[in-house]
């Protein structure tokens, strides 16, 4: 139980990642692949944000003029901001990739009239 509570976040990110990978490899439909890709990316974000979490800490905005102005900032009070910064980037990258992938999928559909990988390959011949 202790173990479960200590690490479950990491386990769940692994689960999400497996779902994503499975969809990317096994699914035939391009849209499904894209969804899998997004899930995969989100899983990584879960992982990073979990790294940043800290027991008993609040959000990484310094309580400026919130009663404790200009006192020495206690490190233990704030969660680790660095992973958050990194993940902002990852989210943005994710949406970028999503946009491009959708655009390509749409072009493929226009060209081959299908989103199913095997049908497209058939029609390419």
């Amino acid at each position: 139980m202790e173990m479960l509570l200590a690490k479950y976040n990491y386990w769940i990110y692994v689960t999400l990642m497996m779902i994503g990978i499975y969809a990317m490899i096994a699914k035939c439909n391009l849209m499904k692949k894209i969804i899998g890709m997004s899930i995969f990316q989100t899983a990584i974000i879960v992982f990073y944000v979990s790294i940043g979490a800290k027991k008993g800490a609040t959000i990484p905005i310094i309580a400026h003029g919130h009663g404790v102005a200009h006192e020495a900032v206690r490190v233990a009070d704030y969660v680790n901001p660095l992973p958050h910064v990194l993940m902002l980037t990852a989210i943005v990258v994710g949406v970028g990739t999503l946009g491009v992938a959708l655009a390509i999928a749409m072009s493929i559909h226009e060209k081959y009239g299908s989103l199913e990988e095997d049908e497209i390959l058939e029609r390419q011949e």
């Binding site: 990978i21 990317m24 391009l30 692949k33 890709m37 995969f40 990316q41 990584i44 992982f47 990073y48 790294i51 660095l82 992973p83 990194l86 980037t89 990852a90 990258v93 970028g96 990739t97 491009v100 992938a101 655009a103 390509i104 999928a105 072009s107 493929i108 060209k111 497209i120 390959l121 390419q124």
Partner: protein, 496 residues
């Protein structure tokens, strides 16, 4: 004015700023794009060369972006390894850009602005990947390069679309694996700076998490570089890409990924960890052997010229990965030298294929018929590239192969040596088959004069870069010694 101290950042910032300017200018008049692109890349190349000279004189350069000290801010580290790669990337991009003019105008006249903006941004991404000393920054730049790459490939239309889509999926997996690896390192060490991680890491060598991190990062790099069992996306993507794209992407993308692998191996995980703690050295050399043999054999079975070249890339990746994992000084030297040489060689071949596509509208082997007659200069330049791929001295390809084979002998990995020789032979067969096709025009009669064929060389904007590259191949070959003693020998980690 801007002091030489600032050169490292200029390498990346010049093309970055120019990309947006190109986009804005291009919206006004698309004729601005081409010269602006050349100017930007030339600026970047100049900065890269300046940095290279500084590195040669002063040793490793550190540059703090934003003025923050390294583990907190992002740092640029230019050492002997990446100074070299930077110049290669900038140079290759410039040459490819020069040559792209006609094929871009022909293949997508309506999207010139987008093309050049993406082109410059791709170069920016590759340069940034090479120069950065921060593990996460590398990921961001990797994504810039990847996204531009997807788009540039997909602009080829038709079959390029599906190829590009597969590339998106696989490329994302690769980049995400890398990111996950960085995450694992971060959770264990708390740092993102490569040098910093490397100093913290030795106390954690035994842990599973670091092992997983290493595997993930390497897997990521391998996917990006199309290392043997993970190479499925590459042939289609590069074959069906527009020719202006492929002559930029094919020489650089895999090479920069190899560079990243080497960087991860030696500057993040540390050579000791990679070669002594990880039990995979032999396995990877075997895989590299398989890559070389497989790539060569697949290349042999192709009827499509460009596709054949893509399989050669797969084989060449095997060279470099194998060389780096031989764990001998000469093997690693060879791998690094081959990054440089192979970039230029591949550029030569793909520039040629761009010319072929431009002139004959196809890239089957049969499109090459009678080329020697029609464009002797072009074919001569191509022949230099081909000989370099085969590994005929004094072309560049010979010398890197030389080091690789010596490394293989030193390491006692004979299968790798045999594979290298085998691939040289296969390359010889491949290219002489092409020469044959290009040489025996179908209508030649036995004796006397055949019908005079009008010499129809490629336009100057394509021929000149090709010629420059051909000369560069020979020069690189002749100066290999200089390169090795001035740069690469400092780049090989000590104690191997």
């Amino acid at each position: 004015m801007i002091s030489p101290e600032q050169y490292p950042v200029l390498i990346v910032v010049t093309p970055l700023l120019s990309a947006f300017l190109i986009n804005i200018l291009g919206n006004m008049d698309k004729r601005f794009c081409y010269p602006a692109t050349l100017l930007a890349l030339a600026g970047s190349l100049a900065a890269a060369v300046g940095t290279l000279c500084r590195v040669a004189n002063e040793g490793v350069i550190h540059y703090r972006v934003g003025g923050w000290p390294p583990p907190f801010g992002i740092e640029y580290v230019v050492d002997h390894l990446n100074a070299l790669v930077l110049v290669v990337v900038a140079g290759v991009a410039l040459v490819a850009a020069v040559a792209s003019k006609r094929s871009v105008e022909e293949e997508f006249p309506h999207k010139i602005t987008q093309f050049y903006t993406l082109f410059v941004l791709l170069t920016t991404g590759l340069l940034g990947m090479t120069i950065t000393g921060d593990a996460f920054n590398l990921y961001v730049l990797m994504e810039i390069a990847a996204l531009t790459n997807y788009a540039l490939i997909a602009m080829g239309g038709n079959r390029a679309l599906m190829a590009s889509f597969n590339y998106v999926v696989v490329g994302t997996i690769g980049a995400c694996f890398y990111l996950l690896g960085v995450g694992h390192l971060y959770i264990m060490t708390g740092s993102l700076n490569m040098a910093d991680i490397m100093t913290i890491l030795p106390s954690l060598y035994g842990t599973n998490a670091i092992l997983v991190a290493a595997i993930l990062m390497l897997l990521g790099a391998w996917i990006k570089m199309a290392f043997f069992p993970l190479h499925g996306w590459l042939p289609n993507a590069y074959t069906y890409a527009p020719s202006a794209t492929s002559s930029l992407v094919a020489p650089l993308m895999t090479k920069v990924s190899v560079y990243i692998m080497i960087r991860v191996m030696f500057s993040v995980l540390g050579a000791t960890y990679v070669f002594t703690v990880l039990p995979v050295k032999e396995l990877i050399v075997w895989l590299a052997t398989a890559a070389i043999v497989g790539g060569s054999l697949f290349a042999l079975s192709q009827k499509d010229f460009k596709r054949m070249l893509t399989f050669l890339i797969v084989a060449e990746v095997g060279y470099m990965v194998g060389g780096a994992w031989l764990a001998t000084e000469r093997g690693i030297t060879g791998a690094i030298l081959h990054i440089v040489n192979d970039a230029v060689m591949t550029l030569c071949l793909f520039l040629f294929s761009a010319i072929v596509v431009y002139k004959t509208k196809g890239h089957q082997l049969s499109n090459l018929e009678g080329m020697f007659k029609k464009m002797p200069l072009t074919m001569t330049a191509f022949a230099v590239g081909a000989l370099s791929m085969i590994g005929v001295p004094p072309t560049a390809g010979f010398f890197s192969k030389w080091y690789l084979i010596l490394g293989g002998i030193d390491a006692g990995q004979w299968q790798f040596v045999v594979a290298l020789l085998f691939s040289s032979l296969v390359n010889a067969v491949l290219f002489f088959r092409i020469f044959e096709i290009a040489y025996y025009e179908p209508h030649s009669d036995h004796h006397g004069h055949s019908a005079p064929v009008a010499i129809d060389e490629a336009p100057m904007s394509m021929l000149l870069p090709l010629a420059v590259v051909a000369v560069a191949i020979i020069m690189l070959g002749l100066y290999s010694g200089e390169i090795v003693t001035t740069f690469i020998q400092h780049a090989v980690p000590a104690g191997i």
